[in-house]
């Protein structure tokens, strides 16, 4: 039981993520989380304005069901399958983040400095969350997929477009973490 309550090692987690992909393929579907953002646009009526959103969204109900399950899974994992142990980060990372003004690196899943409800009163934090969301929503659809669609499914099926996209993910991520985040915090 202890090994379930503690964080799981990478060599267990990675194959289990591949299992999610395999199960969806077995059910005749594809693993791709960002497609749901497009479906939500369509449900909200975006098809009236832009043709890209004109599709039978009910064919994507299965994927929205996966999203709903993922939300429940997140709840179950923290409520019943965790022992409150924080994330065992590299001490260098911890010091670095503390110097940037993050108080308890690794104590929670996301920093309070960006996500606590109190900090939302700060316009800067609100703007960061909105910009981050816009970049993710725009970028994934432009690239035709995100981590699940390109990095996991695309690379597992040895597709060159996905390799290009994943290289892009890393260029963007490296620029943000190494050059932009230090300017913001």
């Amino acid at each position: 039981m202890e090994s379930i309550l503690n964080p799981w090692p990478w060599y267990i987690s990675g194959p289990l993520i591949a299992l999610v992909m395999a199960l969806l393929l077995y059910f005749g579907k594809t693993f791709g989380m960002s497609s749901n953002l497009r479906t939500m646009c369509t449900i909200a009526g975006a098809g009236k304005f832009v043709d890209f959103f004109n599709f039978k969204w009910k064919d994507q109900l299965w994927n929205l069901t996966v999203v709903f399950g993922a939300i429940i899974g997140g709840f179950i994992a923290v409520q019943y399958l965790s022992n409150g142990s924080g994330t065992d980060l590299n001490p260098t990372t911890v010091t670095e983040l503390q110097n940037m003004g993050f108080n308890n690196p690794g104590a929670t899943l996301v920093p309070d400095e960006m996500y606590s409800l109190d900090i939302l009163a700060n316009p800067k934090t609100l703007v960061l969350l909105v910009i981050g969301g816009l970049l993710v929503g725009f970028g994934t659809r432009y690239a035709g997929g995100c981590t699940s669609g390109h990095a996991i499914t695309g690379l597992s099926s040895l597709q060159k477009p996905s390799l290009i996209a994943v290289v892009g993910f890393f260029i963007g991520g490296l620029i943000m973490a190494n050059f932009i985040l230090p300017l913001i915090f």
Binding site: A22, A143, I152, G173
Partner: protein
């Protein structure tokens, strides 16, 4: 039953991503600073297992639930959309520490502010839809 199996896969996915700490903002930061092997280990073993699964299924040993071959849709050829779209997504990923899967999962863990990120991501997708025909692909 048809719906239930997808709900269960989703629940499993959510649990795995929380327990693996792949939904941790800090783990994403650490990865992009090359200060930990953890995320590389997760992504690497996921891809290695995925390749193994697809190679075995190619031989026809594993069939889908309907009895047909396991099928992965082919991505269209291209370069600009993948590299530029990828970079834009990467910038957002490292900023908010979550990609589209973890956004929903973190909401389930009680990070309510994630609703703002999700709403912005839906808007970002809408903006792409508007500009799609003007962008190089």
């Amino acid at each position: 039953m048809k719906t239930l199996k997808f709900l269960l896969v989703g629940i499993f996915f959510g649990i795995v991503l929380v327990k693996s700490e792949a939904v941790s903002w800090y783990r994403i930061y650490e990865m992009f600073r090359f200060q930990s092997f953890h995320m590389y280990g997760i992504i690497g073993t996921a891809i290695a297992s995925g390749i193994t699964f697809l190679q075995i299924s190619k031989k026809g040993i594993i069939k889908s639930i309907k009895g047909s071959d396991i099928f992965v849709p082919k991505k269209e050829n291209g370069f600009v959309r993948y590299i530029i779209g990828g970079i834009i997504f990467g910038l957002g990923w490292a900023l908010i520490g979550a990609c589209p899967g973890p956004m929903y999962i973190l909401l389930g863990t009680g990070v309510w502010s994630m609703l703002i990120v999700i709403a912005a991501a839906v808007l970002g997708t809408f903006i792409y839809g508007i500009l799609k025909n003007k962008l190089p692909h």
